[in-house]
Symmetry: C2
Subunit: 239 residues, 2 copies
């Protein structure tokens, strides 16, 4: 069976750079970023999320899209979030739909429910949104939009509320202990993404993206049960 | 005690026109619309939701804002929804915050969860969003944004997922029977809004806005319990 064709947006970013290295043998990759992508694994495109036509061309022929592009700053300004995360995510979903892409893995964030964490409340994916930033609000929008594309257009959408994506070194050299709860190792991130692509029977789902951290306060049971996620890392070994 | 000062946005619209007639004795009203408001009850302002400065001026000195303005079309285009419902709602919340307004009643919609209805699923306000339109997605955004303003800025926000707001005549002359389940009479709408303004101990809540319809499939128990809502109408008498 031929490898699936997968578009990664934001491929020049921190997560994108790790993902494309880790997924290049599993999939035929097409990479997109608004910056030139250094040492691309596969076809590389420079395209902004504001360019719907460019996104359509990028989506053509793809089996799945991993949508990492967008502004990742928890203190980003509204004007930037509007363009990159709201308009940009709409353009991405719409381009994917127009090109018949069957599956999108959407990089959401733990900040969609950040106020539970601030209040010390253990959080499951079923709980209502309590964003702790406009960034979190912009990602909640992406999740709701994804749900609409599932129900209305039959797409499959997996939302990953990514925790603290960092290499091991960052956990070792940490300043505080939050990352012991929130860490997502690069290899666990790659696993979550490919399991999200492969679990075609799951039409929509919201999953926290963290490693199997002993101190976790975000539930990953549904990722294990529905996607088959079996994390290999636990930040506790750096405690 | 002096009457509270309440700003109604979208005051020239269908709901706004009924509300200002029904709330004028309870509150000192300030009315805002992008169109001139015919026969205003109180101060009338012409202002577009794109005008943050104008919204700030409108919010100055207000005890509460009832935010009805926005595009109400369930088949509205994305570009319009972006401006009116996404940017516009952000501008409204931000203007209210900057002016120290303590409470916003936000006109949301049943379309935030419209796919449950399509699948015949009884819906409660705690269930996850399943919008049946981009309009529904845009209102889900407003709810999430409201939640953020509550948690981050200490505002009080009441989201009313309005059903079918219609005069009695429309129920009598109905084509289908959906409105027997989804009707919100003008007087019940006015009651929900003022109870939302008065229930200051409720910092955030999502409530379906319908009359006490026997055939309802959206739960209003939380509105009765938390806001003291006691609907006077039931579409069943027109069945």
């Amino acid at each position: 069976m031929a490898a699936k064709k997968v578009l990664i947006t934001g491929a020049a970013g921190n997560i994108g750079t790790e993902l494309r290295a880790r997924l290049k043998e599993r999939y035929t990759l097409r990479l997109l970023d608004r910056r030139p992508i250094p040492e691309p694994q596969g076809q590389a495109l420079v395209c902004d999320l504001g360019d719907l036509g460019g996104l359509e061309a990028a989506c053509a022929g793809m089996d799945a899209v991993v949508h990492l592009a967008g502004n990742p700053g928890n203190s980003a300004l509204w004007e930037v979030l509007m363009e990159d995360n709201i308009k940009g995510t709409y353009n991405l979903f719409e381009a994917a739909r127009r090109q018949g892409v069957k599956r999108v893995v959407f990089a959401s964030t733990n900040h969609v429910t950040g106020y539970y964490e601030r209040e010390g409340i253990y959080t499951t994916p079923e709980m209502q949104e309590r964003p702790d930033s406009l960034y979190g609000v912009s990602k909640a929008f992406g999740e709701d939009l994804g749900r609409f594309y599932v129900d209305e257009h039959g797409m499959g959408v997996i939302c990953l509320r990514i925790g603290s994506f960092q290499p091991e070194e960052a956990v070792k050299q940490r300043r505080g202990d939050r990352i012991l709860s929130t860490w997502l190792s690069p290899r666990d991130c790659a696993q979550l993404v490919w399991r999200g692509i492969e679990a075609e029977e799951v039409k929509f789902g919201i999953f926290y993206g963290i490693s199997g951290n002993k101190r976790a306060y975000w539930e990953i049971e549904n990722a294990c049960r529905l996607l088959g996620y079996a994390p290999e890392d636990d930040a506790e070994r750096f405690a």
